[in-house]
Symmetry: C2
Subunit: 400 residues, 2 copies
């Protein structure tokens, strides 16, 4: 009896232990944590991203196998748990930031540039060069939902699509490069999207962005000395030409490299626009779209980024001044401060309430963290040839 | 031998089971989830909050024991995991939204009204009526760090403090009711805060708020027909009087209840200000601070809330029209739509990219969820006498 009783107890305890083990999380299960302070840094060469958190300024992990990440960009799910990374090779990757893993990757086109997520987090749209158009996916599964071919002119012609952004009301807005057209696609019914076409906006729109919390869609024109503007607040929006002659007869844009308009900043009621081919930033009134200033800079600007309180706009530069960052005082419309935080500063991102600014120093293989008030370095993180930096607070902004 | 061997095995298995149990999370351990879509709804009567998520529009739990939650407000940690709730009774409560529990509650004053969190998430400031001043706490522990007495005039006098907000650069801005003063406290060194005083702003500031992403601090004046404005972009900010005469000789504000200015909205370059004592909202140009319109409404407005894309401003009302919500078209500056979503609509909050609007219907004991585009109801959640609704996206906004 002693032994059989004991065996019963042994069995019961074994079952208890096994049950306990079965209900245990895996050894590597991540700890419970908030996701509001997470971010990713693109490692272009390696085709990977480094996962970071901004509260302590630390590196949490790396997620590999994302393909060609030149000009890669990212958007986030509304719960700030998942990142969607758009690669140059048509790859669309869904990352779980809590588990630091690649959930799924699909190669959805031959050549693509950027994408967007709908406000409800249900749809991912990607703008494609080849085949030219927009493909829309279920954000949960990455299964395809819809395709909008960028057909124009003759039926056989398809345009490259650029400057794709989300707009309120489950819409996506984008530009057709060859067609010279802006389109607004309403995905309230994702099976039957309604597309408004706005042709004749000017030649060769090369990029587009949403300004003013979703009111204005601004497209840069490769083939004209002007920009195209669409006011999405109008019930029947009609594109108009703004800032005509802003290049002041400068030579045509260099052909070897498509510029990007995403480097525009809005601050203090002004739009700050890197002046292509000039060592200057153009300042326009965000209400009238008239030029109000042209601020001389120490090089050819790449990104103009507003500090979240809009008191300053920070600018980085193309070679050979790509170790320089200049700070524009928005109240005085002049450069007030500058710093040289590292070699090849490719991108910068502020934490959402401007407690810190993170900058990619590609040729130093690190991201440096500075206090925007004092310009002092407060931290750094090793990253292999870092480029774009994306924090999850973007999940809550319109037109990313 | 059989039995002793068995006993050894029993002991080993018991230890295994206990070790497994010890390393197990509690049975109720929450699943891994993002925190970007979380929120809380205040249950004023019950002294509790209901925890919600906006992706699916569901209720996740309730956290009780928070004391007197009349006029309660909340701010969030930068990682969007913790909420800090400011009660009317001087209570400051820290909630863990992932574990749905009260982490700590301190009663830090006899009577208080609102508070703020620094951009780095390290400091919590509370504005107190009794004793009049600001107390600052370590956000991690809720241990006291500093106290700013609202002394003025004679050394023995202490003013009530209202309208406390965070500003960039680890500053807090607040108003002194009896003293008629705005103060800006710089907590770069939390042990030795620097306080700038701006006396003479006008009689009896009753509330204050930050506009324009942290540029303007606007204080409502109980004792004058005007508002006080401080431009924090200036190196030596000087308060000025704006919108003098905006009440058009209306009778003095009712004495029985302090109004609140937090109901102001900024959209499309305008400030929308509930006109106290009138059935109207006042519209001022956010650059010149001149009145540009006065929009007639169906009742006495309480909160004017901008849809995140600024295309509309939604307004709720005091009794007897407190079942009404009117929608102002910001482009046309007129009421375009209205709805009656329930009984006693006390508060409304948009999801950060305007996919949904949540409204507290106090006398229906529920929060209703509507599609802002179609006005259709898309969901509802049972809540006991709901009042304020606060989503974690606030963690990333300046001046909350």
């Amino acid at each position: 009896m002693c032994c059989s009783e004991t065996h019963v107890r042994v069995r019961a305890l074994t079952e208890l232990a096994l049950a306990a083990l079965a209900s245990m999380p895996l050894a590597a299960a991540p700890p419970l944590r908030g996701t509001g302070d997470l971010g990713i840094v693109i490692e272009r060469e390696a085709g990977s991203v480094v996962l970071v958190e901004t509260t302590g300024g630390t590196r949490l992990g790396r997620i590999e196998g994302l393909g060609d990440l030149s000009h890669a960009s990212a958007v986030f799910s509304p719960d700030a748990r998942y990142a969607f990374v758009f690669g140059r090779d048509g790859g669309l990757s869904k990352l779980d930031l809590l588990e630091a893993r690649l959930v799924r990757r699909v190669v959805q086109a031959g050549n693509s540039i950027g994408g967007a997520i709908s406000a409800d987090g249900e749809l991912i749209a990607v703008s494609n060069y080849e085949p030219g158009g927009v493909r829309v996916f279920d954000a949960a599964t990455l299964e395809p939902i819809a395709e909008l071919a960028a057909d124009y002119g003759g039926a056989a012609e398809r345009s490259r699509v650029v400057g794709l952004v989300d707009a309120p009301g489950r819409r996506f807005v984008f530009s057709l490069y060859e067609a010279g057209e802006i389109r607004v696609a309403d995905f309230r019914d994702p099976m039957a999207p309604l597309v408004d076409r706005h042709p004749g906006i000017g030649r060769l729109p090369y990029d587009g962005m949403l300004l003013g919390n979703g009111r204005y869609y601004l497209a840069g024109l490769y083939g004209e000395d002007a920009l195209a503007l669409l006011d999405l607040w109008e019930s029947r929006p009609a594109p108009r030409t703004v800032l005509a002659g802003y290049r002041r007869g400068a030579p045509p844009l260099p052909v070897y490299k498509m510029p990007h308009l995403e480097g525009c900043a809005v601050a203090g009621g002004y739009v700050f626009l890197p002046a292509v081919g000039e060592h200057a930033v153009l300042v326009a009134d965000a209400r009238t779209w008239r030029e109000v200033a042209r601020i001389p800079l120490g090089g050819q600007p790449v990104f103009a980024v507003a500090r979240p309180d809009e008191r300053e706009v920070w600018v980085n530069f193309a070679l050979p001044q790509n170790d320089l960052v200049q700070v524009i005082d928005v109240a005085r419309l002049e450069v007030s401060r500058e710093l040289r935080p590292g070699r090849a500063i490719l991108h910068l991102e502020f934490t959402p309430r401007a407690a810190a600014v993170w900058m990619s120093a590609r040729d130093d293989d690190r991201v440096v963290i500075h206090d925007p008030a004092t310009l002092e370095r407060t931290g750094q993180i090793p990253v292999d040839s870092p480029s774009g930096i994306f924090f999850t607070a973007r999940a809550h902004r319109i037109g990313m």
